[in-house]
Each structure stands twice: as C-alpha cells, then as structure tokens.
C-alpha cells in the first residue's frame, strides 16, 4: 500500500529521511481525522498503536523547520506487515497537539509520557499529569537543553490513597474509613504514646 489517499485527502507528505519504513508528515489540524481514517478504513485497518515518541531537533544536524516532532507508530493486525509512522511537527512557541486517546485507549499513558519528558501539551487529554518523573520535578528532561546530570530531589511520597478511594467509590465500593496522611514528628517519643 502506498497511502495515496492519505496524501490526497489530508495533505500528508512522505518523509524523505525515513529509510526503513513509511513515514508520513501531517499537520496537526488533520491529525485526529487521519488517525480515525487509519483506524477505520478497510484498506489499512491500523488497529494497534505501537508507540508515541517525542523528538527534539535542537542539535540535529541540517535540520530546518519546527523544533519538536511527535511520531506515532501504527501497526495493522488485519493486513500482516503493514506499518506506518505519522509525524507531526510543532514549533516551540505553540506546543499543542490534539489527543488521540479517545480513539486508542493506550494513547493515554503514551501522551502523558511525552508530556512529561518533552512538555508537549495534548489538548483534550482527560488526565494530563507527569507519568515517569515525580510531582516536584521542574523542567522536561529529554529536551536537548536540559542538563542530563541535573538531579532533583523529591521531598515527600506521592500520596495516592485519596485517588484510589475515589476510584473504588466510582466502582461502587463503600469506604468505611478514609485514610489520612501521617505526618511524622522528630521528638514523638517525648510526647508519650497515649493520645486522646
């Protein structure tokens, strides 16, 4: 398959630098429609989203154009061996891409990871938080201008029990006793063990 329809309908361009696979560059306005087309069209039926990756072209040799790119890898389970990569270029001043997590459920965490490591905002994402780095992390570590050895300490645990309780409640469970975060004191033994 040569993805002619993709290029005619949505204005995609074949990436000349991709040597090993088919890579189509689309603009972000058409991205959601392109992915929906790829997923549903009987000629391709890309029903597996393999990966979403962010690219930072800051120190890339002979690169012209926007600084960031997001690369979506698709695979078809119906047509054996059919794979495709989509690439969306975004400039640093406007780091926004529409989400595809309503089409592919696993895109949720992929997009969270890309947001975490590159700072690219996916508009319409249901829960865009950091995935790999901790909550107090400042900056986006996989950008080329982040110093690779710069370490950042986390002061407390991520306290996730209230969220867990919320989810259990949504599933129909009944919570008898809500958990409270325990704050440790340094000289607790001076205060005695019996408390009212």
């Amino acid at each position: 398959m040569d993805f002619k329809e993709l290029m005619e309908k949505f204005g995609g361009k074949l990436d000349a630098q991709a040597k090993w696979d088919d890579c189509v560059v689309v603009s972000r306005e058409y991205l959601h429609n392109v992915v929906a087309f790829l997923k549903d069209d009987p000629s391709c039926k890309m029903d597996m989203l393999v990966d979403i990756a962010g690219v930072d072209y800051l120190t890339y040799p002979n690169h012209e154009g926007p600084r960031f790119a997001i690369s979506y890898a698709f695979k078809s389970l119906k047509h054996p061996g059919l794979r495709l990569r989509l690439k969306v270029l975004v400039s640093e001043s406007d780091l926004k891409v529409p989400t595809i997590s309503d089409l592919y459920a696993n895109a949720n965490w992929y997009e969270r990871e890309v947001f975490d490591q590159f700072g690219i905002v996916f508009t319409g994402h249901p829960d865009l938080r950091r995935l790999l780095n901790h909550v107090e992390f400042v900056g986006h570590p996989l950008r080329k201008d982040y110093p690779a050895q710069k370490r950042q300490w986390l002061s407390t645990n991520d306290y996730l029990l209230p969220e867990l309780e919320k989810r259990l409640e949504a599933l129909g469970y009944w919570i008898v006793k809500r958990s409270k975060e325990v704050e440790t004191k340094d000289n607790e033994f001076l205060e005695g063990s019996v408390k009212e």
């Binding site: 982040y146 050895q149 991520d158």
Partner: protein, 211 residues
C-alpha cells in the same frame, strides 16, 4: 549511671556476648528489590545456596519485623522518600546492605532520575559490588555484617541512647523554662503599664476635681 554502664564488667560483657550471639544468628532481611539484584537474592535465599544456614531464613515483608534492610536494585528519585520511610519504620537495631552497583553508586545510570548511591538517603553498613552480585558475594556481605554485629556493645549503645534522650529532655525543659520566663516577664510588664496608666488617669482626675 552512664559511667557505670560504660565500664566493662563480667555482667555487661557476658550480656553483650549473649545479645550479639542472638542477633548474629537470626538476621531477618527485608528485601527492597527493584531490579535484577533481587532475582539474585532469590537464588541466594532458596535451595542451592540456602541463606537459612546462617539463620536468616525468614524474609519479612514488613519493616517492623526485620533487622536488615537489603536494598537490591536501582533507586530513582521518585522512590527515594519511600525507601527512607521504610528505613525509618524499622525498629532498632537495624542494618543496611547495599547490593549491586546501582544501590552502591547509581551504577551506569548517570542521569537525571537515578540516586547516585543510597548512602545519599540512609546509612549503609555493607556494600556489595557486582552487576548483579553473585550469591557468594551476598554471603560474604552477611558474614561481614555478622562480624560487625559481634563487635557491637549493647550496653554502650543503650548508655549512649539514654544520654542522648536525657540531653534532649534537658534541652527541652530549658527551652520551656525560658519560654515561661519570657511569658511571665511580658505579663509583668503589661501589668506595670496597666497600673501606671491607671495612676496617671487618677492623677488627672484628682487634678480636674481640684480645679
């Protein structure tokens, strides 16, 4: 009391010996396994190598019941406060073994997310090299730890602890006394001001009536 406890006598030294004998031969590890070193620890624990030969057959998965915190694997910054909290939950006496290159120094993860050695967070007694370390190396570390425990003196530690607590209580009482003194002084000054104001008012009134 502290001086008497520090002097070695027949009773204290034999008590030390007894306590150390008990501690050396029942070291219960808490496996904090995050990577391949934990797999290696599993093979140390079971069948062929059999860690229970030196008395640590019980792997306790709660920090309240274990003596040795065994950190086997990479510790990231997201995990660091959890490890610290688990160490703080362990009852004294407690020892820490850093197993493998990652736990000792961060290994080859020289990057933004990995703690360069767990001794940035908690004190470590024994380091084991290797990536991952062999079960023999782990046994060696356990023997080292046993030697270290045999040198410890329970009575001395207890005396030190009591001394620390006494000093802390003294400092706290001194602080409280100073605070109470300041408070009383403030109150006295306030009362004085109040009295002087009243006096002035009375004087003014007397002058007014005189006129």
């Amino acid at each position: 009391m502290t001086d008497e406890a520090q002097k070695p006598s027949i009773i204290t030294s034999s008590l030390d010996f007894l306590v150390n004998w008990g501690r050396t031969n029942s070291l219960w590890p808490f496996p904090y396994g995050t990577a391949c070193c934990a797999i290696e620890f599993m093979s140390t624990e079971v069948g062929r190598y059999d860690l229970s030969r030196i008395g640590s057959e019980y792997v306790r998965f709660t920090p309240r019941q274990s003596d040795v915190l065994l950190v086997a694997g990479t510790i990231t910054y997201k995990q660091a406060p959890i490890l610290k909290r688990i160490y703080e939950q362990m009852a004294e006496p407690r020892w820490v073994i850093a197993m493998g290159a990652c736990a000792c120094s961060g290994g080859f993860y020289d990057c933004y997310c990995t703690v360069p050695g767990i001794d940035h967070i908690i004190p470590v007694d024994v380091y084991i090299g290797g990536c991952p370390s062999r079960p023999e190396a782990f046994f060696d570390a356990m023997f080292d730890l046993q030697k270290k425990i045999k040198d410890e003196s329970y009575m001395k530690q207890r005396a030190g602890r009591v001394r620390d607590q006494l000093e802390m209580i003294k400092a706290k009482t001194a602080e409280a006394k100073a605070a109470a003194k300041d408070f009383a002084q403030e109150k006295v000054e306030l009362a004085k001001e109040f009295v002087s104001e009243k006096e002035q008012e009375l004087v003014k009134k007397a002058q007014f009536w005189k006129e």
